[in-house]
Point group: C2
Chain length 278, copies 2
Amino acid sequence: LTGSFKFRGAFNKLSKLSRQQMDKGVVAFSSGNHAQGVACAAKLLNIKATIVMPSDAPRIKIDNTKSYGAEVVTYERKDGNRVAIAEAIVSETGGELIPPYNDPDIIAGQGTVGLELAGQAADKNADLDYVLAPCSGGGLVSGCALAIHETSPTTKIYSVEPAGFDDTARSLDLGERVEIDVNQQSICDALLLETPGDITFAVNKMLLTGGLVIDDDQVRNAMRVAFQEFKIVLEPSGAIALAAVLNNAIPVKGCTVAVVCTGGNVDTGAFRSSLMEV
Amino acid sequence: LTGSFKFRGAFNKLSKLSRQQMDKGVVAFSSGNHAQGVACAAKLLNIKATIVMPSDAPRIKIDNTKSYGAEVVTYERKDGNRVAIAEAIVSETGGELIPPYNDPDIIAGQGTVGLELAGQAADKNADLDYVLAPCSGGGLVSGCALAIHETSPTTKIYSVEPAGFDDTARSLDLGERVEIDVNQQSICDALLLETPGDITFAVNKMLLTGGLVIDDDQVRNAMRVAFQEFKIVLEPSGAIALAAVLNNAIPVKGCTVAVVCTGGNVDTGAFRSSLMEV
């Protein structure tokens, strides 16, 4: 549903709103996958959704968000005023702002990925040595960590971020949240964040073994491997944990490794380009 | 495994050979997916495999077949001498010829697709109105029909073939096997056959509601829909049953439909082209 994991957290959050809150609508800002998750959950629950998106978000993400009946308001990513725009809409409509990651209900929703993963491993009698998941604000990886740590406390769990946006990796190294200076770009449009959430980081600091960092060429290669070997379509951000394994970012030989590959909302032109170098 | 359903039948067949037969090796002719299925099953069972493939088979299928350690012998598709080549190898080596579809063990193996499908429907408390599956020699659709008819006798089951290679559709219409004159091409490289198998057709005549026929443009569109909506990579032959539903080849509105999408071994160039017209 919606081509990424984001529906999980969004539906969990929205379904807990009071009917009175629902009637005032919901507001979210997102580069695209949270946007679609909130829009789709809102449609199913009959809630009006207004989504603030960067104007350079992949076309497919903007189109899909609109297809669920949400109102889309765009902003220029470099101005960075998405929070202000969203807050203005909230104060005007009285709607509920749905955070993309830094929220217990969102984390719990994304954590169902970890629950399913633990269940699948149990079905195969597999003890997981490693779990790797993409990381932006940290909602997915913290939710997965909570779910997996419960039944498999010795599993080592890593976040994976794009080079230049390694705020979680650096924060984990230092033991406290840092904000990075952004001075490069990445094709991982869903993972372009400067600092971890305080709630997600509190969980990640406790439960993650470390943070891995991957560059765009490695991500493109992982997209090709997913296409050729697994017959699945991954957007760049969705392929980054697979890229970490393919590039031996951790020593996985002889180990049982689970890799979270989620997010397939990639424009056809970008996908075609990523296959170019095969 | 091997990017298509063909491993199922091949492994079932090969695992039933005597050790004496296994020691003499196996031989198969195939445009590519049966080749990979036999090669992979043979590797797992420690059997030497020789595979006769058309020289114009997708590169990915030839490379993958070799990657399992099989010996690949190529022939010119227009000469149509694949059977003679395979039989010459058999008489020289004493190896066992593994038929691509017209064999009870092969049909039973492919039928596990139908078993899984019936199981998945039962898990969702869904009564299947229709099941559609790609059809070349008819092993997959006949196996699925046997599996599904057992538990759901009112489900209507259809074969789907490419235009110009509609031997099963015509045979079902006439009630007897016909051989078609081939006078066109199709991108569905795994479904280019002139006449149904006698065993597969005996099953299909009994259990199928009819045969549907789809053209290449409809197939390309289905590949794009699979990419964009379902995030899966389908080769042309694997997308043909989805194409039938998307083109309203049967009236599915309000019905519960299962579509067998299997086969993802498509060269990157061909896949890029199929996404071109989005």
